[in-house]
Amino acid sequence: MAEQKKSLLNVHSYTKECIERYDGASPQRTKISEAPPLIRMKLSDAIFDLCRANSLWPLTFGLSCCAIEMMCCGMARFDLARYGAEVFRPSPRQSDLMIVAGTVNRKMAPALVTLYEQMPAPRYVIAMGNCAVAGGPFDVEANYDVVLGVDKLIPVDVYIPGCPPRPEALIEGILQLQEKITGKRFPFPQNKMPEGA
C-alpha cells in the first residue's frame, strides 16, 4: 500500500508531465519570469489589476461537497455578485478564476489541468476545502486514488481550509485574492465594515 501511495502521481502519465511543467525549478519557467516586460507602466498595471480583482469570473467547476457551498455562495444569502464575481462562466475561455471545490483524483487530474490551461491569462486558482488543499480526510493509508492537494497539479493562489469551508470562508478567500492582486484589501471601500463591527 505504501509503495502504491508513493507512486500515486506517477501512474498517470499526463499528471507527471504536469508536475514537470509547473515545477518551480524548471529552467523554462524561470526564463519567462526573468524576461522584462515590453511596456512597464505602473499606473496602467495598477488600473488593470484593480479591474481584474473586482471582476473575477469563476469557472463553473464543482467537484464534490464543496461545490454545494460554492453554489450557496452565489445564492441569495451570501451573494458573490456584490464583488462582481457572480458571473459563473461554463467555458474556461471566459473565466478568470478556477475554484477547485472538492477532491481531485487521478482520473480527474488531467481534465483539471486541461481546464486550467484553457483559461486565458491572467488566471487565478483557489483551492477550496481540505481535499483540494492537502487531501483532507483522504490522506490515509488506504488511499489509492485521491491526489493529495491540487497544488501538485497547478499553481494555487489562495487556500481555503475547511470540510467544507463555509460560504463566508470562500468570500474571505476571494477578498484575499483581491488583496493579493491589488495589494489592498478593499480597493472600493463602499460597504466596508465599520471598525469594531
Binding site: 488600473i47 488593470f48 479591474c51 473586482n54 456584490r82 462582481g84 457572480e86 491569462a121 472600493f188
Partner: protein, 328 residues
C-alpha cells in the same frame, strides 16, 4: 475644391453620426449590462453588484477593462483568420442601423426612404458573424450553437418581417420618419396588436435571449457559439448582442409605440428623444424580465411555434390589413 465644400457638411454629419452611434452602442452596453445584473439580482432576492462604486455602478466599466486585459486565445485547431474576423463582423454593422433611427423629429442621422430595409439587412449580418465564429472555433459545442442560431434566426425573421410589413402597408412607406408621422392620432399597437405581439416574440428569438437562448444554452451547450472566445473577442459578441437588442427595441418603438411622440416637455425642443429612450428601455426591461423568469424552451418546440403558429398568424394578419387598407 468646390465639390469638397459642397459635401463637407455631409461629411461632418457622417462623422458626428458615427461618434454618436459609438456612444450609443457602448453606453447602451454599459447601462444594459449593469441594469441586467442589478435587475437579475433584485428578481433573485439579492442585491447584485454592490462593492464597485456606489451600488456597483462601475462594475461594467471594470468588467470591460478586465476583458481588454485578457489574453486572446486562438485554439490550435481553429481557423485563425475567420476566428479573429467573426467578432469584428458581429460588432461593426451595429452602427449603421443607428444612423437611420429617428430618435426624435430632429435627431436623425439620415432619413432614408428604405430605412427599414437598411436596418433589417444589416441586423442579419450578426447571424453571419455567429456562423463564421462558431464554425471557425472548431468546437462541437460551438457548432451546435451555430446550427441552432442559424435555423432559429432565419425562421424568426419571417414573422418579424411579416408583422412589420402590416404596418408598412398602412403607411405606404419604408421611411421610419413617415411611419412615426403616421401614428400621430393613435399608435399602431392599438390598430395592430397581433402584429406587435408577434414582433415581440420574434425579437426575443432574434436576439438569442432566454427563453429562446438556445444558441448559447448554458446547461446544454456550455457557452454555445462563443465557447472558444475569450477576452475582448467575447465582449465584442456581447456588445453586439446588446446593440442588437437596442436596435430591435427601437424598431418596435418606431413601428408600434409611436416613436418619439409623447407629451412635449416645455422649453425643450428635442424632448422626443426622452420619450423614445423611455419606450426603448421599457421594452428592454421587458426582455430582461422574461429572461430571468422563464425556463428555456426545447429546440423543436421553438421551431414548431414559429412555423405552425407565428407565421400563419402573421400572414392572416397581413391579409386582413391589406383588405382593410384597400376597402377603407
Amino acid at each position: 475644391m468646390e465639390t469638397f465644400y459642397s459635401i463637407l457638411p455631409e461629411l461632418i454629419r457622417i462623422v458626428v453620426c458615427a461618434v454618436c452611434g459609438a456612444v450609443i452602442v457602448f453606453g447602451n452596453a454599459l447601462v444594459m449590462g449593469y441594469a441586467e445584473r442589478k435587475l437579475a439580482g433584485h428578481i433573485m432576492l439579492r442585491p447584485g453588484p454592490m462593492e464597485v462604486g456606489p451600488h456597483g455602478i462601475y462594475q461594467l466599466v471594470i468588467d470591460g477593462l478586465k476583458l481588454m486585459g485578457k489574453q486572446l486565445v486562438v485554439p490550435a485547431k481553429a481557423d485563425p483568420l475567420l476566428f479573429r474576423f467573426a467578432p469584428l463582423l458581429a460588432f461593426a454593422p451595429v452602427f449603421v442601423p443607428l444612423l437611420v433611427l429617428p430618435f426624435s423629429e430632429k435627431i436623425q442621422g439620415f432619413d432614408l426612404d428604405i430605412g427599414l430595409l437598411v436596418i433589417l439587412a444589416l441586423a442579419s449580418i450578426n447571424l453571419l458573424a455567429i456562423l463564421i465564429g462558431g464554425w471557425a472555433s472548431n468546437n462541437k459545442y460551438s457548432l451546435f450553437g451555430v446550427f441552432r442560431a442559424v435555423s432559429q434566426n432565419v425562421a424568426y425573421e419571417i414573422p418579424m418581417l411579416l408583422s412589420l410589413l402590416a404596418v408598412v402597408f398602412m403607411t405606404n412607406s419604408f421611411s421610419l420618419k413617415a411611419v412615426v408621422a403616421a401614428q400621430s392620432p393613435v399608435w399602431f399597437i392599438v390598430i395592430q396588436p397581433l402584429a406587435f405581439l408577434i414582433y415581440l416574440v420574434s425579437i426575443v428569438a432574434e436576439t438569442n435571449r432566454a427563453p429562446f437562448d438556445l444558441p448559447e444554452a448554458e446547461s446544454e451547450l456550455t457557452a454555445g457559439f462563443h465557447t472558444e472566445y475569450s477576452g475582448m473577442s467575447f465582449s465584442l459578441f456581447v456588445l453586439a448582442e446588446y446593440a442588437n437588442m437596442f436596435i430591435v427595441s427601437s424598431v418596435a418603438t418606431v413601428f408600434f409605440l409611436g416613436g418619439s411622440s409623447g407629451i412635449p416637455l416645455p422649453y425643450f425642443e428635442y424632448s422626443g428623444i426622452i420619450w423614445f429612450m423611455l419606450k426603448v428601455y421599457s421594452l428592454m426591461f421587458f426582455l430582461v424580465w422574461i429572461r430571468w423568469t422563464y425556463p428555456r424552451t426545447r429546440f423543436d418546440q421553438l421551431m414548431n411555434f414559429c412555423w405552425k403558429y407565428l407565421i400563419p398568424f402573421a400572414l392572416v394578419n397581413l391579409l386582413i390589413t391589406v383588405v382593410m387598407v384597400k376597402l377603407l
